[in-house]
Amino acid sequence: MGDILIKNVMLVDALGERGLADVLIGEGRILSLEGGEAQRVIEGKGRFLAPGFLDLHAHLREPGQEVKEDLATGLRAAVRGGYTDLVSMPNTNPPVDTPEAVRALRKKAQALGLARLHPAAALTQGQEGKTLTEAGLLKEAGAPLLTDDGHTNEDAGVLAAGLLGAAAFGLPVAVHAEDASLRRGGVMNDGPLADLLGLPGNPPEAEAARVARDLEVLRYALRRAQARPHLHVQHLSTKRALELVREAKRAGLPVTAEATPHHLTLTEEALRSFDPLFKVAPPLRTGEDVEALIEGLLDGTLDAIATDHAPHTQAEKEMDLLRAPFGIPSLEVAFPLLYTELYRKRGFPLKRLVELFTDGPRKVLGLPPLHLEVGAEASLVLLDPKEHPVDPKAFASKARFSPWAGWILEGWPVLTLVEGRIVHEALE
């Protein structure tokens, strides 16, 4: 006797669309794909079931900025978005740069019983870019990767040492690749539109220049390290930087990369509204960049879609474009957004899309693939193709605004399970 039976559901995972099944769940695992007795039966007809999503890049703001978001609202938003696992960024206040801080966050998140939290730790103490943190102890405490995200690693020597240090413990080092001196005060993509709108531009070359440098630093670390270093490039936004990563991968460098839902669906044109809702770092780029990123998803240059969920208060996002903070909240819409915009509208392969939310990010963290097979962990998401508009007022996140407000999307998560336990349910 299982706990839950999801009947007549289409299975889809990184291996592909795998036909209809009656998925029996119990003891936190998939017990059978051919049905059986269960305490609860859920009709899966017309819906599809996928492994739970993993977000490599979310800002949950705890500790220190709980007015923007906290673990409870952030992880609630995550399960509503179909995420069973989430990596939180360490640029909190204070930054997460000690094993104690990592443990404290994990303990608190476990008590909430929502998505599983994997708190990334800072690469350098205080994220100041000077003194490295304790990679080994952070790994033992449960940090899945090290990053100074939110800050750019200006000192190449420190990054190199960080890569060497993290390599010994199998930890990836994730980088916010922007040359801050070239970016200066840029608030949108640099180019003719920024010139027209009179807004300071952040040039695409600022990203490419930093990615190029970081790849050279990686080459150095690779040559010097006994263990294999791993560089993960966060939120790629430009065609040129993407090409650099592609070449590096072809050359066999241990590099992975992610792209965000906003860089895949919006362009700099959104800034014509002068709405700080669209202010994000790196900035929204051109249509050509968006097309290049989608190509990068297809050919494997990009390993994962990561949200960069960055909640802020409404008042902050109603400041002007110079003062409003960077960031878009997106945990709750990421999958339906890309399901609709990429798969439904453009015929992007569903198998690959699901992979970019599941096995892709798992691989970046060195986790084994998670497929819909008997015996597999029942961390799952049931997705519904029914259309619904994006309604930020209904968000669980404290940031109840969205650049996609009113967009009609399909593929909403209606049931999320973590190890067989329902953590989100919106079945009609």
Binding site: R184, D195, L196, L197, G198, L199, F274, R323
Partner: protein
């Protein structure tokens, strides 16, 4: 016309109608009693999130010359950084019954944002690098006075085009009126492109046969940011008597002020007969009266 934010989407006929009204207003300002009741019962707020003297005084005088009530709000940008919100300030004024808001801010787009929050007419009093439409209107008005018409006339704008809202607004407005607009400055102070404007780092090329020359202020912070070297700028981009020989004889000289004498402009030129600087300030009141009139009279309240 509901708001005046910039000149995107404007037609030549709309601009000309506005400038015709400005001519009527200029005539009012020549009378012994410089006041008409056109805006009696209307309230105009000048909301300056960035300090300014001449634009604010010009707007306030324009509103008073038409018998509108005027309230004035000035906030230091430092208090904005402390979290004071534009929206709250504007909603407070809205609750007091303001009909038109003249908004000045150091960030591009604040007047655009304001139209989402208030029902009254929004007039861009200068927003960051984006636009300063009433300055462009008074520049156009002054140029029309001096040149008779702008069709086919070559206007050279010289200096820091990249960071200039005045340049951007003129770049939109003057071509609408038939002018050929050139922009010249050091490469680091030129945008990649501006629709309707021919950009060049060669001052002589922009000045050649120019019918009028508009000089922009060089701001200290550009030098501090390492974008320009002052001596080099003066040597190659200062508008001097000698360089002006490239332009048409008697080509008038405009400057939106305040001027750095002997930096962007040879000091003696500022006081010469070619300089229309004071005429620009004078015309500013009539032009702003016309803008307020067009936006408020006949508007649903």
């Amino acid at each position: 016309m509901k708001h005046l934010l910039d000149f995107q989407g404007w037609t030549r006929a709309e601009v000309e109608s506005l400038l015709d009204t400005a001519r009527v207003m200029a005539e009012v300002l020549e009378r012994p009693v410089k006041k008409v009741p056109a805006l009696q019962g209307f309230t105009v707020a000048t909301v300056f999130f960035e300090p300014s003297t001449r634009t604010r005084l010009s707007f306030e005088l324009a509103a008073r010359r038409m018998s509108a009530d005027v309230v004035s709000f000035a906030a230091a940008t430092s208090s904005l950084q402390k979290g004071e919100s534009y929206k709250d300030t504007l909603l407070t004024l809205e609750a007091m019954g303001v009909d038109a808001y003249v908004i000045r801010a150091d960030a591009a787009g604040v007047p655009h944002q304001a139209t989402r929050w208030v029902r009254g007419a929004v007039i861009n009093g200068g927003d960051g690098r984006r636009a300063h439409p009433t300055q462009a209107l008074l520049d156009a008005y002054t140029l029309l006075e001096a040149l008779g018409g702008l069709e086919g006339k070559k206007i050279a704008i010289v200096g820091d085009i990249l960071h200039s809202r005045v340049a951007r607004s003129n770049a939109e407005l003057l071509p609408l009126l038939g002018a050929e607009v050139w922009g010249a400055g050091p490469p680091a102070l030129l945008p990649q492109s501006l629709p309707g404007v021919r950009l060049t780092p060669r001052l002589d090329e922009a000045l050649a046969e120019a019918d009028a020359v508009m000089v922009l202020r060089l701001q200290k912070e550009r030098m501090e940011a390492g974008l320009v070297n002052l001596e080099d700028y003066i040597a190659h981009y200062q508008v001097t008597e000698a360089r002006l020989k490239k332009a048409k004889p008697e080509a008038p000289l405009l400057h939106p002020g305040p001027m750095n004498r002997d930096v962007e402009l040879e000091g003696t030129l500022a006081d010469s007969a070619r300089s229309l600087v004071n005429r620009q300030v004078h015309n500013g009141v009539a032009v702003r009266m016309a803008v307020l009139y067009h936006l408020l009279v006949g508007r649903e309240r």
